[in-house]
């Protein structure tokens, strides 16, 4: 296989809290090819936004990338000097945030904010910038772009603001667009429009799209492949169709089950308990306390990867993997014992 556009390898990012490093993204690896859409799914606190920030090099202290690689077009972005990063950020990798009101500067017009992006990256002169900004607004189907370009953010509706943000993200024709919950703050009819726009732009421009969401309906509509995150780790990765047909991880099954559907008035399949906070992760597989299928090895050590082929991987003892061997956070005495136990129980037949 040729080198993908983006390859994230063993990324661990976290925060310094009271002299202790608390990981919030743990050993995350995935790749993304040109023209492909990967959805990163998870609930709040699962580490999906921090993964995006790590890729963009936007993790500020007390946050810190502990280890891993973010290889974009064959070059590792981690550790690049800020000047080099700035050339990549915005120009080759662009980010669309969740909250279109806070991501735009309220005291500048939409047009001047798009023009700034163009000029900073040397993509247009002051003279051409306005015309290009209007072109971009037209491309994201903002009606009357020649008028809207002079509007301030507060004069636009939520949907139009999100379009303006997407126009800004596309200003320098990036190869990779990271969209962090781009439709969460929007009404369902506006959400549908924005998703259609993203899919259309992707087709026309051959963008790679990393779409972060908690809505499995959005995933079904947009994704080629899906990575499910829980408590900082990717616990399951799969092409979209097989994930919905045959989810392997109990957490994925729970997420799919908690979508309202089935017979009206019937009980929903709830996942008991709540998502653990970073720094208070349970031992072993972090999903253990909430898992309906837990058994002996689960609380001992985090499970390694089981590869089903066809791009399907899962981290769960039900599918008989060994313990994770990356030695993350190591140095605790019980770890060896845990490994032993997991090895012993490894012969438990996969269900």
């Amino acid at each position: 296989m040729s080198e993908p556009l983006l390859r994230v390898e063993h990324l661990t990012t976290g925060f310094e809290m009271g002299g202790r490093f608390v990981p919030a993204v743990i050993d995350v690896s995935f790749h993304l090819a040109k023209g492909e859409t990967l959805c990163l799914v998870g609930e709040s606190g699962s580490g999906k936004s921090l993964t995006a920030f790590s890729i963009m090099g936007l993790v500020d202290p007390p946050g810190r990338i502990e280890r891993g690689q973010v290889v974009f077009k064959g070059r590792d972005l981690i550790g690049l000097p800020e000047r080099e990063l700035q050339r990549v950020r915005g120009a080759e990798i662009a980010l669309v945030f969740q909250e279109p009101m806070t991501a735009l500067n309220p005291v500048f017009t939409i047009g001047s904010q798009i023009e700034e992006t163009l000029r900073v990256h040397g993509r247009a002169t002051r003279r051409d910038a306005r015309a290009r900004a209007i072109e971009l607004l037209d491309a994201v189907r903002v009606p009357e772009p020649d008028k809207r370009v002079r509007d301030y953010p507060h004069q636009l509706s939520g949907g139009l603001r999100q379009r303006a943000l997407i126009a800004m993200a596309l200003a320098c024709s990036p190869d990779l667009l990271i969209a962090d919950e781009p439709t969460t703050a929007l009404d369902v009819t506006i959400q549908a429009q924005i998703l259609e726009l993203l899919a259309d732009l992707q087709q026309r421009l051959g963008l790679a799209l990393l779409l972060i969401t908690h809505d499995l309906g959005v995933v079904a509509q947009m994704a080629d492949r899906v990575a499910v995150m829980y408590a900082g780790r990717i616990v399951e990765e799969s092409p979209v169709a097989t994930l919905f047909d045959d989810p392997k991880h109990p957490y994925t099954r729970g997420l799919l089950g908690s979508i309202p559907g089935g017979a009206p008035g019937s009980r929903l399949v709830a996942i008991p308990g709540t998502v653990p906070a970073p720094g208070a992760l349970p031992p072993g597989c972090c999903f253990t306390p909430r898992c309906p299928s837990r058994f002996e090895p689960c609380p001992t050590a985090h499970p390694g990867i089981t590869d089903f082929g066809g791009g399907r991987t899962v981290k769960c003892y039900l599918h008989g993997p060994a313990v994770e061997d990356d030695g993350e956070d190591g140095g605790n005495g019980s770890r060896n014992g845990a490994t032993e136990l997991a090895k012993k129980t490894k012969s438990v037949p996969g269900r």
Binding site: E43, S44, D187, V188, T189, I190, Q191, A192, L195, E196, H214, D215, L216, G217, V218, V219, A220, Q221, A223, V240, A241, F244, G254, L255, L256, G257, S258, I259, P260, G261, G262, P264, G265, S266, R267, L268, V269, A270, I271, P272, T274, V275, R290
Partner: protein, 292 residues
């Protein structure tokens, strides 16, 4: 007989005249009529700004309606004086959307749940304490956690505290305004299951205000769709979802992302010129009304 009867409800917000602006009015709720039977779950859906929250608050007179009638158990709520209204509120309670801002951070969870009993002078101190413990159990909280503060609870647990408080005075009607939309997906299902259980056990009536159409379809018996302050369609849930009659309902339903990668998608785009916004509701099927 209907437990709640809302007739021709109107709420107009006026903008004061400014230096460069003439006074103007916005009809947030425009001639809304519906009724809810005892024991029913009635869904009020619509997008932001459609007037669904304002409608809920007008029923409780947390916002004073401009005109119309609200009849609860056969009595006209809008004619009540302060004292009588306070009494009526024992019987109609509200659960708010955001469990992070709707609980007083400086009060202990037990005191938050007990407060309605204190205000309405119900029972002696020991009786109230016992009732609080009972309510904690009822909503699935550990009664030993009564002395904790809201920040020590998760979002789902906070919503349970809000629910326990709402249930303290044995209400018959609960107005639930987006009760689960601020919660994580896996926790949403827990709270939805709890709402359905409680309804069965306590024979509650719900006015369920929400924008999540999948959820509304799952738990409501009847639904009204609001668009720009008006009810544009109303009916038995299955009929409305299976054969929507109003262009707005069609557009809204077709915009729901379906959690099935193989599903075909035919999104209907709303053309605001395609219907008469002032049309009255007329019956389009058995118990199914649309403003077309």
């Amino acid at each position: 007989m209907a437990l709640l009867d809302v007739r021709n409800l109107v709420k107009e917000f006026t903008r004061k005249q400014g230096l460069f602006r003439a006074a103007s009015g916005v009809r947030a709720v425009d001639d809304v009529t519906f009724s809810i039977d005892a024991g029913e779950t009635f869904g009020l859906v619509g997008e932001s700004g459609s007037g669904k929250t304002t409608t809920g608050r007008c029923i409780l007179r947390l916002i004073e309606p401009s005109s119309g009638e609200v009849e609860f158990k056969g009595e006209n709520v809008l004619g009540f004086d302060r004292t009588r209204m306070r009494l009526a509120r024992r019987d109609m309670q509200i659960v708010f959307q955001d469990p992070y801002s709707s609980l007083n951070p400086r009060m202990r969870a037990g005191d938050i749940v007990e407060e309605p009993l204190v205000i309405h002078r119900v029972g002696t101190r020991p009786e109230r304490k016992a009732r609080v413990a009972e309510l904690f159990e009822l909503v699935g909280l550990d009664p030993d956690h009564r002395t904790r503060y809201p920040h020590q609870f998760s979002g789902g647990q906070r919503q349970r505290i809000g629910l326990a408080r709402a249930l303290a005075l044995h209400p018959s009607l609960i107005i639930a305004d987006e009760p689960v939309s601020a919660l994580d997906v896996s926790v949403q299902a827990q709270v939805v299951n709890l709402l359905m259980d409680l309804q069965q056990r306590l024979s509650l009536t719900y006015l369920f205000i929400a924008h999540d159409l999948r959820l509304v379809r799952h738990i409501c018996e009847r639904v009204a769709v609001m668009y720009r302050g008006r009810i544009v369609e109303m009916g038995v849930t299955e009929a409305l979802f299976e054969s929507p009659a109003h262009p707005y309902t069609k557009a809204l339903l077709s915009a729901i992302p379906v959690p099935d990668p193989g599903a075909s998608r035919q999104r209907v785009v709303l053309d605001p010129g395609s219907f008469d916004r002032s049309a009255a509701l007329r019956e389009v099927g058995s118990g199914h009304w649309a403003a077309i």
